[in-house]
């Protein structure tokens, strides 16, 4: 227990460090862009008609304060961190005057809901089938599945997505091709709304499954076929331990550990994966928000989305790391 506490504490410090470095990089990059958001806003606001220079100057002044661009660079930097800690990223430029945090808060459930579920579902199905395929090497069904999964795996994700869109949106139009839910259905816990959300998530989910399954399947299959020849599995077989217990407690249990690490990494891809998926399927998540923000030069939005992704990804990895000793008790030792 003591060893675990030490391990958990160490991992937590690491998490804080990663978040700190990540946000700093995001800060530097956004502040190094050639687009000055204040001048951009001023020029947009003053593009039509005549504005008095004093009015422009006071507008510039208030925008600077709004964006936290007053004072020396060090003051700006400290100010930025003060605002990050209370999750205040200022107002969005492109959707002025909505605060960035409101926009992100609205988008996050969509992204986490779709990509989080897709990632975990892909992981579970891929590992389960891969594990069975590695253990029951002679099964024709599992062999066939392996071939299909392997054929789909190298396909670029957007191609698979677009093929699905063409097949189910155009050739055989049974599923909605865009959006997160039907426009005219009120939000809430009504069955109609939930059904609508589910229907809209079908195509993106299917596309992620199709492309993602193969990797987990093949990885787990080869892990299992290695574990099967380990001494402790052979020994348990010689001891007459039941097949079922060998498969679950001896084979799968030991093969799964590296795959859990893989899951942590792929949960990290939820936010970056969101970019393409949400773009192709017009899904109202954080990826779409980020792309819109970049196009509009809305750097408080970009910074906000980036910060949230950094924290989200690190948090997912931290959670996996904290449960990892349950899967492999050897990690707390080192």
């Amino acid at each position: 227990m003591r060893a675990y506490a030490r391990y958990a504490f160490g991992r937590f410090l690491q998490f804080l460090l990663v978040v700190f470095i990540g946000i700093n990089i995001a800060y530097i990059i956004t502040h190094a862009t050639p687009i000055d958001p204040v001048e951009h806003t001023v020029s947009v606001a003053t593009a039509f008609g005549h504005t008095a220079p004093e009015a422009i100057e006071s507008m510039r002044q208030s925008l600077r304060e709004l964006y936290g661009l007053t004072g020396s660079p060090i003051e700006q930097y400290l100010n930025f961190w003060r605002r990050v800690l209370v999750a205040d990223f200022g107002p969005s430029l492109s959707a002025f005057p909505s605060p960035v945090s409101t926009l992100i808060g609205r988008a996050i459930p969509w992204t986490v809901g779709l990509l989080g579920v897709a990632t975990i579902l892909t992981w579970i199905i891929g590992n389960l089938l891969g594990g069975l395929a590695g253990y029951y090497r002679r099964s024709r069904l599992l062999k066939g599945f392996g071939i299909v999964a392997m054929a789909l795996h190298p396909m670029p994700y957007y191609i698979a997505a677009i093929i699905l869109l063409i097949v189910f949106g155009y050739l055989w139009p049974i599923l909605p091709i865009s959006g997160g839910s039907q426009m005219n259905v009120a939000r809430g816990w009504s069955s109609e709304y939930i059904l609508s959300v589910a229907r809209h998530s079908m195509l993106p989910l299917l596309s992620l499954l199709l492309v993602g399954l193969g990797g987990w399947f093949v990885g787990m299959r080869s892990l299992v076929s290695n574990v099967v020849t380990e001494d402790y599995v052979v020994y348990a077989e010689l001891a007459g331990v039941s097949k079922r217990r060998i498969l679950t407690a001896y084979v799968m249990r030991n093969a799964i550990a590296p795959q859990v690490t893989g899951l942590a990494i792929s949960l990290g891809h939820v936010f970056s994966g969101a970019l393409i998926t949400e773009r192709v399927f017009g899904y109202p998540g954080i990826g779409s928000l980020l792309v819109d923000g970049v196009h509009a030069g809305d750097y408080s939005l970009v910074l906000g989305v980036t910060t949230v992704s950094i924290v989200g990804v690190s948090l997912a990895v931290l959670v996996i790391d904290l449960i990892y000793p349950l899967i492999d008790p050897r990690v707390t030792v080192s």
């Binding site: 380990e230 001494d231 402790y232 052979v234 020994y235 348990a236 077989e237 010689l238 001891a239 007459g240 331990v241 039941s242 217990r245 407690a249 001896y250 249990r253 030991n254 550990a257 899967i327 492999d328 008790p329 050897r330 030792v333």
Partner: protein, 346 residues
């Protein structure tokens, strides 16, 4: 032993019949590479018995077929290894084909209850992510006919016999030292008091001090339970120390078998003589001579007696005919045409 622990599938034990009898066993690796058949005759016509309450040692150099023989008897064969001919008869099981051809449910009942196994490389036979206690439960619970509390008490009592504290049950294998792990595997293999234990190089990975302790423990448990043990190692020192009878293997065949002291005192086969004479002795500092040549390939073994290319006594007959195993003294069998000449030579 309670009545519930007895296995209904088991035959009533005969008083002094062998626990396992192997007759003319042949087990080959049959490979097919690029359309060419290749047969590796790792076990080629072996006959021997392991009696009740004895430790039968099996010695021989690497690639002499020891491990293959053990795998075949334990029913741990995987393709391309297969039984080509011969019989394996267990006292606790009907039928003569051993574990490989017996019905699965019978095999499941016999394993660990009547026949257990201490494996080569015992360091890695425990599941690294399972607590020792859980492994005991997996392996032995269904054979013991006890409730959980009773089972745990029995395990703790048995661990005490190998000088292990009850706390190891809560430990993971990586938290134990090599010697402790080895004792755990011995406890695991003996908890059900099986009639027959196969031990395949169980102490090879341990240093000599730990090895001595473990062997002594093994011996005392075996004496207490009156089990029969088939003990395989290439280490003649271990054989001298532990086994009651000893079989010497060379290139897939048994070449000599006798009570262990007789093997060391009066070896009749030239190969056995080389093995014994190569052992260092206290006070004798003459250089030891190694055996000329290399062990033969089992895929293409020499004709006749397989030892003839390395044998100083070889005659024309040895090159052509396979010498049969013949009794030369009580409990002493040798497969050599020139055994009398060998014995006459100092």
């Amino acid at each position: 032993m309670s009545a519930a622990m007895r296995n209904p599938a088991a035959k009533p034990e005969t008083a002094d019949g062998p626990v396992v009898a192997v007759r003319d066993l042949r087990a080959w690796y049959r490979l097919r590479l690029f359309g060419v058949d290749r047969e590796v005759k790792a076990v080629d016509g072996i006959t021997f018995e392991v009696r009740k309450d004895e430790i039968y040692g099996l010695a021989g150099e690497s690639s002499s077929g020891k491990s293959t023989l053990v795998k075949t008897i334990a029913g741990a064969m995987r393709p391309p290894l297969e039984i080509v001919g011969g019989e394996i008869q267990f006292s606790f099981m009907d039928g003569t084909m051993g574990l490989n051809r017996a019905p699965a449910d019978l095999v499941e009942r016999v394993r660990w209850r009547h026949l257990s196994y201490v494996m080569q490389g015992s360091m890695s036979v425990l599941n690294p992510v399972r607590r020792i206690g859980t492994s005991f439960f997996d392996f032995a619970f269904r054979h013991m006919g006890l409730d959980k509390a009773g089972f745990e008490a029995a395990v703790v009592a048995h661990l005490a016999r190998v000088n292990l504290p009850a706390s190891v049950l809560k430990a993971y294998p990586h938290e134990l030292s090599g010697g402790m792990r080895q004792r755990v595997t011995i406890a695991l293999a003996t908890i059900c008091r099986p009639q027959f234990i196969i031990a395949d190089e169980p102490t090879t990975a341990l240093d000599v001090v730990v090895q001595k302790d473990v062997l002594a423990m093994f011996r005392s448990i075996q004496r207490e339970m009156a089990s029969s043990v088939l003990f395989v190692t290439h280490d003649m020192g271990v054989h001298a120390h532990l086994t009651d009878r000893l079989g010497i293997m060379y290139a897939g065949r048994l070449v000599e078998e006798a009570r262990t002291p007789d093997v060391f005192a009066r070896p009749r086969h030239p190969y056995t003589r080389h093995l014994i004479h190569s052992l260092p002795r206290i006070g004798d500092d003459r250089p030891r001579s190694g055996l000329e040549g290399t062990p033969p390939s089992l895929a293409n073994p020499p004709s006749g007696c397989r030892f003839h290319p390395r044998c100083a006594f070889a005659t024309e007959r040895c090159r052509v005919e396979v010498p049969p195993m013949e009794q030369v003294a009580p409990d002493h069998r040798v497969a050599c045409f020139e055994k009398d000449r060998v014995e006459a030579t100092p």
